[in-house]
Symmetry: D2
């Protein structure tokens, strides 16, 4: 694709005649259409020399002219950006897929309650839908980050030559436009050496997979029999070779581990370019290898987790039971007293005493006799019953962004709008790039 665009540049610069351009375009379009069948010889330095060799075989010495006004340096920078664009879009689409599956699940559970955690201790009951939406909200930011990274990535370096530009009267915007870039480079030394996008895509990937690792961790924990909140479908779990009773969440464990792999690749990428003088240095080849190995982990990992999420089943009763235990409504009692005019710190003390009492008697707060509660503070009234227990606790958290069914439903819609709004860019860009590529590789284009 890069060479097809470069041929158009050379035509406009009059390095190639219209006839030469036409001949080259036909040959290159054919090579592109049959790229997988291209014979690669190890005797030639790299893929580019192989392409040139085949081209020269087909169109004669004209094939050698194609490398005019181009260097390996701007060429590999271009190729890496073309490849990275596709990966970025693929990742965006899969992140949307996962977010979509999480939100679909959330909609199925408008009032399912489970215990919410802080410090991985039971804190307050929350809605399952609110929890799933929280994971989707993280992914919405990932889409945003990928979008921003794409803008910095989508600049064409073709025409920067080895480092200094070229003496041929080329117009780099011709190639930029044909290849669907937002713009051509500004400074040749920067164009051949800029690998910011490598760091930035790896950082965006590492953060995304960090989010996936958090989701994976929760699912691993909540499928443990001690919780029994969720069950992974058999198709997404494996058995044990020695223990017939086991069902292992391998997919989730590997997804969790991928966050570490991305983190390491990012650290390496930054160390690769640290303290490199201008302009191109061969260290960038090793960095490229790392990128090629690492970036595809993103869409693949997100996809398998999305598929797993789609088939999750939940045990509502187990979650409700766990949410009711542990006096997670103690905060509600404190808030109740605050609303009755008790200073917060004092209300907190009363709630603590009530928890102590309930634990001693092996009762829930809701089961404690009213008189006992009143002994702890005279402002407790019969209406306290309406704020204790998981449903009441959840319903009370009605502030915007909170976990009450109404607030959570509103928040869910906002997250949905966010996710879909941000994902639109990736669908549009995928389509646009397909059109761009088709236009570039279609013989009809030469009739323009």
């Amino acid at each position: 694709l890069g060479t097809l665009a470069h041929v158009a540049v050379l035509e406009k610069a009059k390095v190639l005649t219209g006839a030469e351009t036409s001949k080259l375009r036909t040959a290159l379009a054919d090579l592109h259409a049959n790229a997988s069948a291209l014979p690669l010889s190890g005797d030639l330095e790299d893929v580019h020399m192989n392409v040139e060799a085949v081209l020269t075989e087909r169109v004669g010495d004209l094939g050698k002219k194609v490398h005019t006004a181009r260097s390996r340096n701007d060429q590999v920078a271009l190729d890496l950006r073309l490849w990275s664009r596709r990966q970025t879009i693929a990742l965006g689409l899969e992140v949307h897929h996962l977010a979509g599956n999480l939100l679909a699940l959330a909609r199925e559970h408008p009032d399912t309650i489970l215990p919410g955690h802080t410090h991985f201790q039971v804190a307050q009951p929350v809605l399952l839908s609110h929890t799933l939406a929280a994971h989707a909200a993280r992914l919405a930011r990932d889409l945003d980050r990928l979008h921003d990274a794409y803008a910095r990535l989508n600049i064409s370096p073709l025409g920067a030559g080895a480092l200094a530009g070229t003496s041929h009267p080329i117009d780099p915007t011709v190639a930029a436009k044909l290849l669907g870039f937002d713009a051509a480079f500004t400074n040749s030394l920067d164009a051949v050496s800029d690998r910011d996008f490598v760091h930035e895509l790896l950082a965006a990937l590492a953060i995304t997979l960090n989010h996936v690792s958090g989701l994976a961790e929760e699912l691993i924990l909540f499928t443990h029999p001690a919780f029994g909140f969720a069950t992974v479908d058999d198709a997404h779990a494996t058995g044990s070779s020695l223990m017939p009773n086991k069902k292992n969440p391998d997919v989730l464990e590997i997804a969790r581990a991928k966050a570490a792999t991305a983190l390491g690749a990012l650290a390496a990428s930054l160390a690769h370019t640290k303290a490199l003088p201008l302009a191109y240095n061969r260290d960038l080849q090793e960095q490229k290898r790392l990128l090629l190995d690492t970036l595809p982990i993103g869409p693949a990992t997100v996809r398998v987790v999305a598929d797993l999420v789609e088939t999750l089943s939940f045990d509502k009763a187990a979650m409700r039971r766990a949410a009711a235990a542990g006096h997670a409504d103690a905060t509600e009692l404190a808030d109740y007293l605050v609303r009755k005019g008790v200073p917060f710190r004092d209300a907190h003390g009363v709630a603590g005493a009530a928890v102590h009492l309930a634990t001693e008697r092996r009762l829930s707060l809701a089961e404690l006799p009213l008189k006992e509660l009143q002994r702890l503070h005279p402002k407790v009234g019969a209406d306290v019953a309406a704020v204790l227990g998981p449903e009441a606790t959840v319903a009370a958290k009605s502030s915007p962004g909170g976990t009450s069914p109404r607030a959570a439903a509103r928040a869910l819609k906002l997250v949905e709008a966010d996710v879909n709004g941000r994902a639109a860019f990736f669908y549009q860009t995928a389509t646009a790039l397909q059109r761009t590529e088709a236009a570039l590789t279609t013989p009809a284009r030469s009739a323009r």
Copy 2:
């Protein structure tokens, strides 16, 4: 500041009366004005308990009411975002300062030539201004990245409570607006646990310092006597305790090393949050400590390098001499032949033979007799003289973004526009936040 905003939230929610609000606002504004004199007791859990203690001392039990509808979890998330905003703006301003100094130097050297490198071997002569502008172009992207990160950072988490929202009828957008945030959070579980901005700011910092490390490396190399291209002003270098003849570029070495420090902090930050279940976990406190230690490295490092750059002096003759050596005009000879119709690969062979011949005779290509060149290829004409030598070589690279004086001057203006355009955001935001803070802490505000 956070508590001042929260008081306004509580007033609107009618948790506080107008009189209570007024009293608290005055006390808090006073605390803020004399923040550095606030006595901090180690017996109290943290800075927040200290503030509450002093407040309660001054306004009585009313002071305890301030923590209503707020948790330590949304409070520390808020504080970390407020602090990170300032650091981000400080970094943006310093990056602009450095870019400005580089571009000012570039404008002073419109036709100074030095050897351009690839693989740190002399490749082609380039303009010093083009080189300096390349470094500025990198910093323009850094400003862009910081701007994008700021947008995701600038969301208020206040009102998310411990994890689930609150039962008080608060409006989180009140605090968001008063504190200059773009919006309030959407999902409470996400709001208290989201530390994406920590990763993202550290990534933006690591990439920025990577750029600084490349600049530092070049200056360290080019101040070595073997090059003698540049001299660091005595004020920015140190002597050696044992070697009186030494002038050490310590500032540059330390700046170079800071890129590694940022890289490590980023890796740590990602590892801190990997596989954490929702919502708040105390691991985030350790991550916070790391952020507080690391982010300020950015503005400080960029500033000292900016100051050093401002006082750099260059030895034009040494750079010209080095650019003339090494047959860096060989590519020009090849391009000359291409323009005469010789296929590129053949022209490349002729240029190689000419280099071989010149090296053997200890001449530059320009000094080789025309007949000798013509023996290598019949298409060489007398006009070849106009393309050999550093000035001709540089002038020839006249394509957009290239290193010819005209192309470089055009590119310089584009980079300048980029840098200044992107920096504007940081100046405007700094001013806006000052106004926001003043409004929040001025008693007059209560007259609203």
Copy 3:
């Protein structure tokens, strides 16, 4: 201390007379004894110039002679090694403390059973003592690694000068011996630039804290009410500002996070020295700062976890109950059939079918009627009862290193011997260094 040793070197080299040496030694020993009271002036370059200034104040021009045959480069390398030695020993002692506490707990629980996990799914019942010993076994390797790192650290660089040695007839082994080093450096260029020990200590620290993070994770999980296996003593947990019912394992969460901090410091340290040319570069100062910040995390973190472990209490019944659930004895059934001559893969199939049947009937395998089991495979006999249930399952794992009470007790003793044997080095070295230091700083020493 370093200067005291250097004075002895200078005396032997006859740079200093006996009288000068004596005078300096007295002054330096006094400075050392009152080190904390040493006034440090920011006007002087560093701590070394401050020491020299005070010394010169006290003994006149003689104070300036002390820097003869020494450079800042070998001096800071020496100081960093002296400091790192102490930190390494401190870490070794604390690791032994933690391992000791784990093993003491293990001895208290010779037959307590809990579910063993793989893929964090219940796999087979294991002994608590075996689990605790597994954590101690990891720490034994940490001690081993620290010991090996110490050997490479414990080399004196003093006498290497700036990079090339010195023209004074010094004997570097004099200082090496007085300071308790195993040897003096071999090559001056290597001596001033070698920071392998920084990487290596950070790697040993990162691995140790990785082990601590695994222990912390298990304790965080097992103190969750869903498990209820263990309880952290109140002195080592904190309450929640909003939720009176919470008891948060903050210590464990922060300990877990420290593993990430160490990982980041290690990555930074390696990036600091990557691609540095010989010999000293100021980048090493930034790396030093990082080491000073990071290494002390080790002993501090290990100590608080050791203290917490000491006060852990376990709920045996809860663990036994969890171990009995989930058909973790399915493997035993399979093994039983293998011993009866059934091929392993077939036996595995039978066990799977039995699990299926038991799950359907909501029984444990031990509760399934014998006839039902025999229907699955004719080789099942009445003696199958002896292999089902957690106690039988644990007892059966009697191979060396296995979890049967006898095998585990034997393994426990081996781990104990390992831990204590490896820790001995740190106690002996701590004592030896104290003696070395005392000898160096005692005026009596001058009577030698």
Copy 4:
């Protein structure tokens, strides 16, 4: 190999008869001899199921018995250790190869002088041999580290089962001995989950490649025409596609970059196992993949650099010239004055003034008239001539480990002894493992 050893374990445990053992041993030895021809079916879970399938095809149901008393968990732990052992030895041998080549070059240059650097500024002249030996001294420590890591790696986990040991009366030391391990595991839970050796080998690799990166950096710099100290043989450099005059040190640039790749893998590996509960988790599979990708980088990278070093050529005159410039003998002048009784700090001032004077007059210190020097300090005598100039400066650094020809020669021998002494382990172990493997796979062994 692992299965062959396990068969011997099962024979001793009487799970297999002598006849069964013999049959299996013959079949497995044959599989081993033709391992590369083993058909691998993607339908089967992994390589182990493929081996079992082929085995069962050949020996019938007996093939299924082989997995008795073994789990995939101890099996993969064993395999990873077997593979890592080979890689460690391969790395040790290549490190010795590189160190040997450096030392051979050093011996060829007993009195070649080049400028020594600190802060990458010319500091003092040093011997080339001393510089090369410094690089070899680093590699000696690498060998030491690998040796220590090997000891912790060389423990057999076979017999630990899934996590708890096995109910078969096996003796794990049988397999350990047959496979050449130093010992069998102590604790089954630790045995299946211990991946310390992954971290430790990656750390040893990262430090080794850090050393290689420093050597590569120096060679890249010193082959730059501004220095012209060294020339890389054409066989180890590449040309430029666009610049016929270029000779690029690609091998060195890629070697330099590999240090960053190893650093990233180490960070990832630590993040993989951070906070994992006992025992086996599938995250370890992802960590394994990373290890398989990364460890082989070591021997390959060290080898190509060793080959390049072997063919390096040096320009002695260029190095001598650079060493004479820059007043690197200023320290000598200061030391000369110290020997005459001038306090060091004062002598340093005089030397500084002399440098200033010489620079002004464009002379070397040796060329300054004696009277001028005496005007700076009366203690300067005619004998000062003997200490100025690079040869005198180098010769003066005669302290142990210093750069004088005699001291350097002595230091060189010590480094050589170190390198060879530490390398011996790798040769002996390579041979021993070959014998062990041969014994295990030879039918004759069954006659034992």
